[in-house]
């Protein structure tokens, strides 16, 4: 019986994930699931009382799947994850304008890349389950 060589015949290059966070919001490069639907621009997360919000601006289309997970497809023009106070944001989601930051500096999202978003989790020791952290 001939010995089977299990070594790969060529090197497989794995595309490296782009993983970033701006405060409570994390984003990782990821394909957008087929069941995700395009959605109008809105904040990725809102502060409960602070008036702060995490927004994605620039050349970007948001999507949402049936689990309410949000995705972004960033085009040639690139996009930015920003943390701003609602009072300074003029609603120009499609602009690459950098707004005055609230707490967290802006984070660049790569052009021609799709992202999945998630909110930092907190374990609720009383209810004994995980929930999105709040600011």
């Amino acid at each position: 019986m001939s010995k089977i060589d299990l070594k790969p015949t060529h090197t497989i290059f794995m595309s490296k994930k782009h993983f970033v966070h701006g405060g409570d919001v994390q984003a990782i490069s990821s394909s957008i699931p087929k069941n995700a639907k395009p959605m109008a621009h809105k904040p990725i997360a809102l502060g409960e009382k602070s008036g702060h919000m995490h927004i994605v601006t620039g050349d970007v289309q948001l999507f949402i799947d049936d689990q309410n997970t949000m995705y972004a497809s960033v085009g040639d023009g690139g996009a930015t994850l920003q943390h701003v106070h609602e009072s300074v944001f003029d609603g120009q989601y499609n602009s690459n304008k950098i707004y005055q930051k609230a707490d967290h500096k802006q984070v660049i999202l790569k052009p021609n890349t799709d992202y999945k978003f998630g909110i930092h989790k907190r374990y609720n020791p009383l209810a004994r389950h995980w929930e999105a952290s709040k600011d």
Partner: protein, 351 residues
């Protein structure tokens, strides 16, 4: 009456379910019920309900909230004005209105002078499902069956009449005595958590107009004024916390005081400290803390937190983690919504 068994819902019928679910919640959230809560609309509902049950029309008194309604009910019971009897038996509308005014003045005087310090000694529980906050559930489900599934029944006409009256009266609940019915308005504000339970760690979860009625709730649990305000006023010390045996109270204090204050109160020890070297070459240090003791409200486990430091502001954030962790970095990764391993927890940019 035709009998048709429905085996499954059509897509159109299913699509109507959330509309019926949300309709009555929206009536509360939008302020619709508070807007329509007026003497004439409320009397129409109450009179219909009494007549439907075979009783004469009562004198209907509008209170601002259920507690105020209880106080008014107790006041009228203890200081029964004969004008109520006259109102009940008279056919003369002018005379009825005069009696109504006398009783209203007595109540207004009581509310202005004595009610704030009065206590409920005899709680009235003679509420009825046709004029109550729970009416919304019945109207929603039964309305769906009639409107969408075309259910035919002998009570359809009565139901449709009742629904019309309730939706345009905005009665939170009603204490139904034979001669006097005391109704309550809906609240001004309602605070809820993500699960929809009443919840507000910084004040009342339900705010009412009228005589003050403090409704404190934490994750759906009603917390007494005394316990809630003790935490708000900074009177919960380590000794007080450890002496408290009520788990709901302790859980409420945790929510009200916040993690940092609770760590101070609960005697926290450092369990582990670790670092991540991220892809942007930044180094992040995380620390795992736990309480020395275990607590019944957490399932006889210690409380556990990871301390993160915000790279933008330098602020310390204490994020609760499951109590089984012994490694700070593993506990930190467990809070990520997107990755699950320490190897993958390498940010290309952090802010």
């Amino acid at each position: 009456m035709a009998k048709n068994k429905i085996e499954s819902l059509t897509a159109e019928q299913e699509a109507q379910i959330p509309l019926y679910l949300n309709k009555y919640i929206n009536n509360v959230k939008s302020g619709h019920y508070r807007n329509v809560y007026k003497r004439d609309t409320v009397e129409k509902l109450i009179n219909w309900q009494y007549e439907y049950s075979g009783f004469a029309k009562p004198m209907t008194i509008l209170a601002n909230n259920p507690y105020e309604a209880q106080l008014i009910n107790q006041f009228l019971t203890n200081n029964y004005p004969t004008e109520i009897d006259t109102y009940y038996t008279s056919k003369d509308e002018d005379e009825k209105e005069r009696c109504y005014t006398v009783v209203q003045d007595l109540i207004a005087n009581y509310l202005a002078k004595d009610a704030a310090t009065d206590k409920i000694k005899n709680h009235a529980d003679n509420y009825i499902f046709t004029s109550d906050v729970y009416t919304n559930i019945l109207l929603g489900w039964w309305g769906y069956l009639i409107d969408v599934l075309k259910l035919e029944s002998t009570m359809n006409d009565a139901f449709l009449n009742w629904r019309e009256l309730y939706e345009n009266a905005g009665v939170f609940n009603a204490i139904c005595n034979q001669k006097v019915c005391i109704t309550s308005n809906y609240p001004l504000e309602i605070h809820r958590n993500e699960e929809g339970d009443l919840h507000n760690p910084s004040g009342v979860a339900v705010k009412w107009s009228g005589i003050e009625w403090k409704c404190y709730y934490i994750n759906g649990r009603n917390i007494s004024d005394e316990d809630f305000e003790m935490a708000l006023s900074g009177k919960v010390t380590r000794d007080v916390y450890n002496a408290e045996t009520n788990q709901d109270t302790r859980a409420a204090w945790y929510e009200i005081l916040g993690q940092e204050k609770m760590m101070e109160i609960l005697e926290v020890v450092e369990i582990d400290r670790g670092t991540f070297v991220h892809n942007d070459a930044s180094i992040e240090e995380v620390v795992l803390f736990k309480t020395k003791k275990s607590y019944p409200e957490t399932g006889n486990n210690p409380y556990a937190w990871v301390r993160f430091i915000c790279p933008s502001t330098g602020t310390n954030y204490l994020i609760d983690v499951e109590p089984h962790h012994t490694s700070a970095v593993e506990a930190a990764v467990s809070t990520s919504p997107l990755v699950t391993s320490v190897d993958d927890y390498k940010f290309d940019d952090r802010a």
